[in-house]
């Protein structure tokens, strides 16, 4: 276990350090997240009294788009400076590289979401102080991070890579979006854990399935 965990954490630390020094990713995704809320507020005519039913949908639309923004950058820095080759040459298993990259994306996304959630709660007028909501956001974001990291490694190599990722990403993560919106609606409405029904298990199954498949497939994607 130690043999897998250490390289994963080193990769996460490397990317966090890069981000800490430039701050371009987190800041731009944060601003983007605020703009998405602004657009949806007018597009859906978020009148007082309706925001309870609209808020979870807007929340997850913003998170999903922000995830694509963040994932698009996941491998760009490595690609541009040849860092990915360095990673691949280093005596680290492909699984560790994948898990490190996915964990980095998860941490970035959770940071952005933690910053956006209170702002959304105020602007969209719902209570974010719910364990169930936080759990839903964590599981949903985990699903985004796992599938997004795999596709990001592919998309970064293709022509028009910024466009390729959403085309690959959205159809596949649609169950996560559906389940997260449903679970969040219940969580915001004050339901208990049982009241969330099968939506959390559905996200859990999605996360588990792709946590098994994606590291295996990732090895084929990055090979030379």
């Amino acid at each position: 276990m130690n043999g897998l965990l250490r390289p994963v954490l080193v990769i996460v630390w490397k990317d966090l350090l890069l981000e800490l020094r430039s701050k371009d990713l987190v800041v731009s995704v944060l601003v983007f997240g605020l703009l998405v809320v602004l657009v949806f507020n007018f597009a859906l005519n978020n009148a007082p009294g309706r925001s309870e039913e609209l808020a979870p949908g807007i929340l997850w639309a913003a998170f999903a788009f922000a995830a694509v923004m963040a994932m698009n950058r996941a491998f760009v820095r490595d690609q541009e400076q040849g860092g990915l080759e360095g990673l691949l040459i280093s005596p680290v298993s492909r699984d560790a590289i994948f898990l490190g990259k996915a964990l980095t994306s998860l941490v970035f996304m959770l940071l952005v979401e933690a910053a956006l959630l209170p702002v959304y709660a105020v602007m969209l007028n719902f209570s974010a102080l719910s364990f169930n909501l936080v759990l839903t956001i964590f599981l949903g974001t985990l699903g985004f991070a796992v599938v997004g990291t795999l596709f990001s490694a592919m998309a970064v190599q293709t022509r028009s890579r910024e466009l390729m990722l959403p085309v690959l990403f959205f159809p596949v993560v649609l169950p996560v979006i559906i389940a997260s919106v449903e679970a969040s609606t219940r969580a915001v409405g004050g339901e208990t854990f049982i009241g969330l029904g099968r939506w959390l298990p559905l996200i859990g199954v999605f996360d588990a399935v792709f946590l098994v498949i994606c590291p295996w497939i990732f090895a084929f994607v990055v090979e030379e």
Binding site: V147, L150, M154, A155, Q157, T158, R159, S160, M164, V167, L168, F170, P171, V172, L174, P175, I178, A179, E182, R198, W199, L202, V205, F206, V209, F210, I213, C214, I217, F220, V221, E223
Partner: protein
């Protein structure tokens, strides 16, 4: 540089398997059309529009089969790295996208008189639409990849991830629908009312579309081997300074 693969195999006088398949499919399709439009009884409630059903159901089933072939071909390609498997998956994906498109279009034509709406977010429709999007992404990532071999791998990745995802998509939209019940009737609501002749015509149509699918995949695979041969010729010409 040994181009052992013959382009059109002009030396052999025997018709190729593909030609035989084309002939069988053609004859079967003509009979199929005759059965659908002349033999099958007109539906007492829906009228002639119901005949689209004999196309819609076999095409929809074949499109799911196509994506199983894509999945199997993708897994085998990643394991064995034999381009043969990639060619199978690629051909099945292209034919599959055409079939799903046809299934969606015939479904829309059928839905209008039956459900009084062109489209409804019913689980089966929604899943089919997402399936279409996944396999369009499969074809896109293949052609946008930096090299052909990378494209084959990326496409195989999408073929596997997409196929594994389909059941999860299906259950999520089923549950989503059961919580917001829709006013429309299920797609097979009147399937019990299928009389004997109708069922036989449907069965024949299904078999026809199995042949149609196999023939199209063969045709696409031979097209691909021609593309590859052409690529080799171009490469040789360019290297010789033309």
């Amino acid at each position: 540089m040994a181009s052992s693969q013959s382009l059109t195999s002009p030396s052999s006088r025997m018709p190729s398997a593909k030609t035989v398949m084309a002939a069988i499919t053609g004859v079967m399709m003509v009979i199929n059309l005759y059965l659908i439009f002349m033999v099958a009884p007109t539906d007492s409630v829906l009228g002639h529009v119901q005949r689209v059903f004999y196309f819609h159901v076999p095409i929809a089933i074949m499109s799911f089969l196509a994506f199983f072939v894509v999945f199997a071909g993708s897994v085998m390609y990643l394991i064995t790295r034999s381009p043969k498997w990639d060619a199978v998956a690629h051909a099945a994906a292209e034919v599959g996208v055409v079939l799903v498109t046809l299934a969606l279009i015939t479904g829309i034509i059928w839905a209008r008189p039956v459900w009084n709406t062109w489209w409804t977010w019913e689980p089966r429709l929604t899943t089919t639409l997402i399936l279409w999007l996944i396999y369009v992404a499969y074809l896109m990532v293949r052609s946008y990849a930096p090299t052909q071999s990378k494209g084959a791998i990326y496409a195989a990745v999408m073929g596997i991830v997409g196929f594994v995802d389909v059941p999860i998509v299906y259950y999520s939209v089923v549950w989503w629908r059961s919580i917001h019940p829709s006013p429309v009737v299920g797609p097979f609501a009147q399937a019990d009312a299928l009389d004997g002749t109708m069922a036989l015509v449907l069965l024949y149509s299904f078999i026809t579309f199995v042949f149609f699918f196999v023939y199209m995949v063969m045709e696409r695979m031979s097209l691909r081997s021609m593309e590859e041969a052409l690529g080799r010729i171009r490469f040789t010409l360019r290297r010789s300074g033309r």
